[in-house]
Symmetry: C2
Subunit: 167 residues, 2 copies
């Protein structure tokens, strides 16, 4: 598996392309996001060190991607090329076992995020985020965190002001 170094801002996947690889982050940070009908960016996932990022749907079904993947920071990533990556059916048992566990954990996490979006206020969501990913709060610009949480940077700034007063 080969590694590449990419500067901040490099785009690895665009909408309408077929996703042919996954990316394992060795250093730096990537993100995936969509741009909606009014031109706004909405972040789906962050991938700091040791995280895997891809467009699972496009990768598995061979359909056109709807998302972007790019580098939030100068990064080094390992490329998991589809051509060298076995299908589920041809995998060794141990590998399949590892993958299943990853899928399951990812599904649990995604479900929790969904629940949070459905049922929590913007303030609760930000608070949960700071508890769950304190490192990322330090590391990422506020505007990206706001996008991930489904709110505007202005509103996140307002929330932080409010929380600071409380304690």
């Amino acid at each position: 598996m080969k590694s590449i170094k990419i500067p901040k801002g490099t785009i690895l996947l665009r909408p309408n392309e077929i996703c042919k690889s996954g990316y394992k982050v060795k250093m730096g940070c990537l993100k995936s996001y969509v741009i909606n009908s009014s031109g706004k960016e909405h972040i789906i996932q962050f991938a700091p060190e040791n995280w895997l990022i891809s467009d699972l749907e496009s990768f598995t079904k061979g359909t056109k991607s709807k998302i972007f993947i790019d580098a939030v920071e100068d990064s080094e990533v390992e490329i998991l090329d589809k051509n060298y990556f076995p299908e589920f059916e041809e995998m060794e048992h141990v590998m399949l076992l590892g993958l299943s566990t990853k899928l399951r954990n990812n599904l649990i996490a995604t479900n929790n995020r969904l629940i949070s979006l459905l049922s929590s206020t913007s303030e609760e969501r930000y608070f949960e985020f700071t508890k769950t990913y304190p490192q990322l709060v330090q590391r990422l610009p506020q505007k990206l965190i706001a996008s991930y949480l489904g709110m505007t940077p202005e509103h996140l700034s307002y929330i932080k002001g409010k929380l600071a007063k409380k304690g």
Copy 2:
């Protein structure tokens, strides 16, 4: 695996319980949902015929559940008891293969719903829902669909009125 018949409204799982089984719906329809800090119900998933429903996090980790599962209609469900259900590590290869595929598809679907919640308007979300699950639109009360889509029944009613005029 044993089957049970349950009347509409029967609750199969409550918050703070440990989830010890999955439910495969043979007839009828179940739903899972949370109740948030202001007492509002938010639907996570519908499970009509042949769908599986559970609290994956509580089931796998043995932690306390945060969700409800109950019957939307009189239903017949097959109970997949944890005691008789092998861990990933002990599964036969074919079974693990099937499960991995289910997890993957579920993850893709959940991701798409997340994207929709983040980046689409309420009107777009309702429109997508009618395209993706036309049967459920017929079958379920509007208030449940509204809850699933992250809006109030009143607002969904308003949207339907608007769409009816357009065409």
